[in-house]
Symmetry: C2
Subunit: 462 residues, 2 copies
């Protein structure tokens, strides 16, 4: 072979070494398990769809980013989110599904954006949605923040805020000001307040030809602050009677009450009337989630309530509520900030069996017993000096090394070394199995949290 092709991947695509991949998988697994704990059923849709179906609704910026191509005579596109495939799926299979339909999907989506630091062209989204037929009880909106809370705390995060609002409240407020026609533009400006500050939002509002006194009122409104009870009291005291406002306020109160019953600590959520999620898509409750010490990351988990999921595919009315986590970007951001606790393991194996010579008999029997107990176990089989074998053990970072040589074979025993403590002991075969079983159980019970944001930060690379 003379021609060597340089092995490389495309810019904007994430690929990890084993140590990092294992952390990524743990992150994903924590999300997945929580989705299932809340009763969401798994869904897996094709990555390639017919362009006429996938792009029924798309337009503008989104469409430009699509990976679209022909195979034979067929016009194909790669999915760019998990919401459009969900809409298509629910419309297509509505007679076979049970409503409310609760599904989660974790999968890769594709957007051919200009590559830049922190932006990916292939990235995982983790979505949950609850879809009703004709209607969907507002209390579902209270469960969504409980999912977010459980995921983040199980990962090891504490200092985060789930911001919650309701678009009907803002809509009603704009109506009250006689600005309903400008509400989309106002929302777009208001949504930026955390990024650009109050003064710049005010300038934006004035540029929309909103009178200064009304601009002030809008700013006062979206910055209403205090405990959730206080904010609600404040909203009630405004005396706005139109239907949008009243509906939104009632919904928000119900949702906040539900969140209390679900025992989400109040320090982790907050009514914030300035969040608007930019999109026209959402019609009721909206969510954003930020890390209090790292607001620069932006929202790590957002979503909301929408009136109709699949109007492009069916006449059935399908209201829903959901959230999405941009997992690839999140992993990248956390990694750049050194949030992950690294344990130095490059393998899922907890036990590495090191035979001293080339006889694998006892090593294989021991490994086989541990695997039958579901203990991840690797056998090192290469011919090498013992020092080289130990160097391998140190590199892959298994917590336990089992050494087996001629003596051990003669006595049917195993030398077990705890690599962290540096302790070593020789145990009869059966005891060596029990030792590993106990060690494994302890590992599973005392699994350290994946994320530790308290430790000294490595310099951010953003």
């Amino acid at each position: 072979m003379s021609r060597i092709v340089e092995p490389k991947i495309l810019a904007g695509f994430m690929e990890l070494l084993p140590e990092k991949q294992m952390m990524m998988n743990e992150l994903m697994e924590t999300i997945r398990k929580n989705f299932e704990t809340f009763g969401f059923a798994p869904l897996d849709t094709p990555i390639i769809e017919l362009s006429e179906v996938l792009l029924a609704k798309a337009g503008g910026e989104t469409e430009k980013q699509i990976y679209q191509f022909n195979k034979g005579d067929t016009d194909l596109s790669l999915r760019f989110d998990l919401t459009v495939p969900l809409a298509r799926y629910v419309a297509q299979h509505q007679n076979d599904l049970t409503f409310p339909f609760k599904r989660y999907q974790i999968g890769k989506v594709y957007r051919g954006e200009r590559p830049q630091k922190g932006r990916f062209r292939e990235f995982y989204q983790c979505d949950i949605d609850i879809i009703g037929r004709d209607k969907l009880n507002i209390m579902h909106d209270a469960e969504i923040p409980s999912v977010i809370y459980n995921i983040l705390t199980q990962l090891g995060m504490k200092d985060f805020t789930i911001s919650i609002s309701n678009r009907q409240i803002l809509k009603g407020f704009f109506e009250e000001l006689g600005l309903e026609e400008k509400s989309t533009d106002i929302l777009r400006g208001v949504d930026k307040i955390a990024k650009i500050g109050k003064e710049n939002v005010k300038a934006d509002l004035l540029s929309l030809e909103i009178p200064a006194d009304k601009a002030e009122k809008i700013l006062d409104f979206i910055t209403i602050d205090g405990t959730n009870a206080k904010v609600i009291q404040n909203l009630e005291s405004l005396g706005i009677q139109n239907e949008s406002f009243q509906t939104g306020l009632t919904e928000l109160k119900d949702v906040i009450h539900g969140m209390e019953q679900l025992e989400i600590p109040e320090k982790n959520y907050k009514i914030d009337l300035s969040i608007a999620r930019g999109l026209d898509y959402y019609t009721g409750t909206i969510y954003e989630t930020t890390l209090n010490q790292h607001k620069e990351i932006g929202s790590i988990c957002s979503g909301g309530r929408y009136e109709n999921l699949a109007s492009y595919y069916t006449d059935a009315k399908l209201p829903g509520v959901g959230i999405s986590i941009g997992l690839t970007r999140l992993f990248d951001q956390f990694q750049n900030r050194g949030f992950f606790k690294e344990n130095g393991q490059r393998t899922p194996a907890e036990v590495l069996v090191l035979p001293m010579d080339e006889n694998m008999d006892l090593a294989f029997r021991y490994a086989s017993k541990l695997r039958a107990e579901k203990i991840p176990t690797e056998v090192f089989m290469e011919k090498a000096k013992f020092s080289k074998k130990m160097a391998y053990a140190n590199k892959v970072g298994t917590p336990i090394v089992a050494i087996i040589g001629e003596d051990e074979r003669a006595t049917n025993s195993v030398v077990l070394k705890d690599m962290k403590k540096g302790e070593q002991q020789t145990l009869p075969f059966a005891d060596a199995v029990s030792f590993a079983v106990k060690f494994h159980a302890k590992q599973s019970d005392n699994r350290p949290k994946l994320i530790d944001m308290q430790k000294p930060l490595s310099p951010s690379k953003d």
Copy 2:
């Protein structure tokens, strides 16, 4: 909205309803867990790669099936297997990896085949490979069948055979007959014996201008039968001395010995000299796995040993051994034959909380407690008659239903109904939590196997 686009997906793409998707996920999870139990580290490579990199080696039939397209000026392709990306990955990251490098990858691959029953254009492959640098001990080849054995038995299969051979043995045998130049063509013919029968293979061999006596010898050789010990004895007694044959035989003996130490029951594996895996790729051990009562499915898990993984990307010599499971096809075949035990569940939830009225307080508190115990729990929140609520419970198939009404709220208790047994009891809140915890633990311990091939077959749709 007046224009409705018909919601549909492309032919050759699999999409499942929740009940089936949960079975697919369980199948995948069993495979994944076993891969990790054997110490394979996870890998996730991009689905889109540069065509010049991905297709460095491809040609002929494969290339025609590739989804290849341009985005801007870049020529892109979707991966068509997980082996080429592995080769690229190992070559690219060789200085950061520890060898032997054991990785698994479970992911979708794409082949634009003509769609036909049982063929998919998007399908999951589940691969494991062990890659050495310069060399890789033969005993790794003994561990691979242990992975297959563990996966299949954990899924509930018993009556299967892992066929094992070594290409050096066949190569040496053909050398002995003076037919080494025709060995690739012969292998191609020989590999079909299970499908087309002895007589047709003989005709094929004669059409290659192989003398009739040698064709007979080949047929006798590849149909050598008996216990593994007998087959090895038989091979030794042939007195063939060339290096290929001797190397292959020694390797095969080592591998069989290792498989014994790994405690794979002998009824589940068998030396079979007729398997050849068609490809030039494999150079030593080869594996195929068939269901004894369903040979028509073909091999459900195949692979082997190769001399050099990544010669197109690096001068480093990277020998390896691995197997691949075509998961999507396997699921489809099993499903068509009714092999899956269906439990009627359309949700991961084990407990469905049914509030009698619109007050969710106690329902939410109970659900929250169960979720803290990692018990998948759903709350039904829609306004409906009680009979409709129970109809929903029956449809989604949760084993436990927790009913909460005014009385329960007044007494802080929960009515629990075991849907299978039809038994119902009212328990104080704390006891209702304990009940669910115990039920969940029992469910996890006594999880029925996914597959039951003994039950009456539903008519095959193939």
